[in-house]
């Protein structure tokens, strides 16, 4: 079975631009969460979606938004990119909300110049 897939794997953007990151969860998983991981730190929670509805939001500015599609894949959008947005963006999928293991994708490495 395919694991969590994220695209693209690497991305370079200029300050002020917009970026869209994509995630396909494991087949049968209905929950997708997004995390930002800065080098040397643990993943920081951005959003969680379950059955196409937002179930949790971390402490990130409104420049960050996300959505989940009927096939449970998800997009993370970031507007007006800042240098500080440079990080590894991880997507995790799980069967349900809470009490369950989450499987992480390989991530998208975003560099803002």
């Amino acid at each position: 079975d395919a694991g969590v897939t994220q695209s693209p794997t690497h991305l370079i953007k200029t300050r002020g631009q917009h970026v869209t990151l994509r995630c396909s969860p494991i087949s049968g998983h209905k929950s997708v969460s997004w995390y930002q991981q800065v080098l040397g730190q643990g993943p920081q929670f951005i959003f969680q979606y379950y059955e196409k509805e937002e179930r949790g939001r971390g402490n990130f500015p409104d420049r960050f938004s996300a959505r989940q599609f009927p096939n449970y894949s998800s997009e993370l959008n970031v507007n007006a990119l800042l240098l500080g947005d440079s990080a590894l963006y991880l997507c995790a999928s799980s069967l349900q909300v809470g009490d369950t293991e989450a499987f992480f994708g390989q991530g998208t490495r975003l560099t803002v110049v």
């Binding site: 929950s31 995390y35 179930r55 909300v97 992480f104």
Partner: protein
């Protein structure tokens, strides 16, 4: 509400044991443990729900002390493959949503 992990780093020789601790100042509902190798995605190790349970998987086990809001990960007879950064992720009681807050990680290096 970020959990505090200790130690920050540890170096072991193959066969030695290690304990990694994860403490929270808030009441916890669950603790999740992950291992991340350089350049790779975090890999799930185990989840502990409140109730003071202890779990084990091969030579890696963990406990959750609900009274102290603390979890410990035990690695026995370490192998080279255990090297990586270990993260605990905590879910708060009554949070109303599934949100994991990760610690800064513990870097474990196992040498021959």
């Amino acid at each position: 509400q970020q959990p505090v992990q200790s130690p920050q780093a540890v170096i072991l020789r193959e066969g030695e044991d290690a304990v990694i601790n994860c403490s929270s100042s808030k009441a916890l509902y669950s603790v999740h443990w992950y291992r991340q190798k350089h350049g790779e995605a975090p890999v799930f190790l185990m989840i502990l729900l409140k109730g003071g349970e202890q779990k084990g998987h091969d030579k890696i086990s963990a406990s959750f002390n609900e009274k102290k809001q603390q979890s410990s990960l035990y690695l026995t007879a370490s192998q080279l493959s255990y090297s990586g950064t270990y993260f605990c992720g905590t879910e708060l009681s009554g949070a109303g949503s599934y949100q994991l807050t990760f610690g800064k990680g513990t870097k474990l290096s196992v040498i021959p």
